[in-house]
Symmetry: C2
Subunit: 381 residues, 2 copies
Amino acid sequence: MLECGVYQLLKKSSECEARRGKVYTTRGVIDTPVFMPVGTQGALKGIANEFLCDSGVQIILANSYHLYLRPGIEIIKEAGGIQRFNSWNKPMLTDSGGFQVFSLRSSREIKENGVEFKSYIDGSKHFFSPERSVQIQKDIGADIIMCFDECIPYTSSYEYAKKSTELNIRWAKKCKEEFYKKKGNDFHITQQSLFGIIQGSIYNDLRIKSTYEMLNIGFTGYAIGGLSVGESKEKMHSVLESILPIIPDDKVRYLMGVGMPEDLWECVERGIDMFDCVIPTRNGRNGQVFTSLGKINIKNLEFKKDFGPLDNDCCCPTCQGYSKAYLNHLVRSRESLYLSLLSLHNIYFMINLMKRIRDSLETDTFSKSKKEFFKKYYSKN
Amino acid sequence: MLECGVYQLLKKSSECEARRGKVYTTRGVIDTPVFMPVGTQGALKGIANEFLCDSGVQIILANSYHLYLRPGIEIIKEAGGIQRFNSWNKPMLTDSGGFQVFSLRSSREIKENGVEFKSYIDGSKHFFSPERSVQIQKDIGADIIMCFDECIPYTSSYEYAKKSTELNIRWAKKCKEEFYKKKGNDFHITQQSLFGIIQGSIYNDLRIKSTYEMLNIGFTGYAIGGLSVGESKEKMHSVLESILPIIPDDKVRYLMGVGMPEDLWECVERGIDMFDCVIPTRNGRNGQVFTSLGKINIKNLEFKKDFGPLDNDCCCPTCQGYSKAYLNHLVRSRESLYLSLLSLHNIYFMINLMKRIRDSLETDTFSKSKKEFFKKYYSKN
């Protein structure tokens, strides 16, 4: 049996760093490049599993910080793991909670061995160490779990970023030790995979150092954290270009928290295999919709009498079943149905976009496909 | 071709007034007794048509007052009618807006020829007459439309109720005239059916007078309005028992705004064929769930570690796909998905309950079935 999280490179583009591959997990094989929608609390906002399955989603992400606070790890363990709990019978990934803990700037304290923070639900005190985060994620039981790390804010000084990058390296070692530590009937190791996270803010030398150190520790896959947090696209691309060539071809590369449709093309081009982002569901809730002709806000007056679908190129249930005029009415009337319908469409958009990117890699026509996509996507601007 | 709204009595119970029948409409035949879920703005709150269709829902209700104010009649007309607009390709019924207009006690004024009221959306002034309400409902284009009436508040004096009942009779005549008035290419008459509404508050003599007058005017079907507005169940049943025997067997009887599972049994027993109520969706939004073992609130602590379905007897997607523990987590985390999942379950509950009632009428075992239902439904009390 293959180890969970192992990457198989199928084909490399002849024009750029883009890669077509597969990630093997206990609950299924993931075709990459892949976009992972986010179900913070275990559920994609407003979308039932049945609809989600039909969309072609291969893997979803949940947040161990939120699940730890509510419903609590005991309940998920008792259910038999997160996929028994939320009835999503396909691969899942949990993030470590680092990003969330460090977002609570006022109510957390960083120490060498971890972070103390207050629950946003009831103010109770909690402590996450690298070891604790891994234990929690083992209990949650997703196929891929992440090292506990400090996500360095964009505005950090070089000195702060350097210290934090070094701390993250020490923490990553502890995470790996904890992950491979046997404890009684610990069945998780073969069923789960631990990814390291490369940090270093916008400082390429720190990023490169972080990459080498993570490779030294050795993980099944490598994530890049702390990007798309306010820096320019150029800076983000420069960071990717400085570190991706260092990572061996047989390891999967996951860009955390990215991104927009344009990011998928740009970052696949530079060698990224996995993405996650809340944008499809968050935008859906605000009436913002991705279409092959660009982004629209369905709330706008111009759609009040537009009886066509959101996107003529889309086969999602929303486009098959409802008109822009009706969706405009639902959003304006604050009818909760619009949440599901728009989010579902946006999920389909990202999933289909990724499929298109994978198809272009199969036929080695990535650059042509990218050009065609953008020509249409920006045609109304 | 049968006229839209025509009722066919198939079988009468040998034990009570319960009837098994059919209502013929342009967009399909409805098996009665029937429960109609409410989609005030044209959509059932949180439930996509696809799911709704699978539930066995035969007809849904929308509100002409809300649709008139938003998105406005022009848009629905341009779409080709409400069922083109909301993509619900089965029968629909609109209420006249009377109930909503008269709920706005402070911002409306009743005159002989209609009611002036202010929009709850932007404060703009509007006028609904019996004629205008029928015109609006013709434009909306549902299969069954309702006379414009004053829904007399429960606390009204006999004198007020008497005056209002008489006004409603005059308005019903105007509605019928307007409905059958030909206007150019008016195709609605054969495709739509107009129901009269019996009012008279809790005063049986006024109810009886209203019934005879409505029968005199002559409608395809007869609704009973102004019940379940605060009066006791005994009073409601007494009103039904005083008027239902007067209505000929070949006319359908629709009890507006009712009801709870227990009401369906009690009122079918007295001869009601059609019901509508917001309870399944409204309760769903509050975490309240109907089950064959009675009502539960899924938010309660006792369900935190209950990994069974909401109802072992239920075949809905929520019960097939999710546990009580997970639903408890979704409600507590305010994850919008719970809105759809709980509302959908409650809809299935009502639809299946009605199917069970119809089945019992087929085999003439209504009383036995009713007893069995309540024995289980109240077994945990």
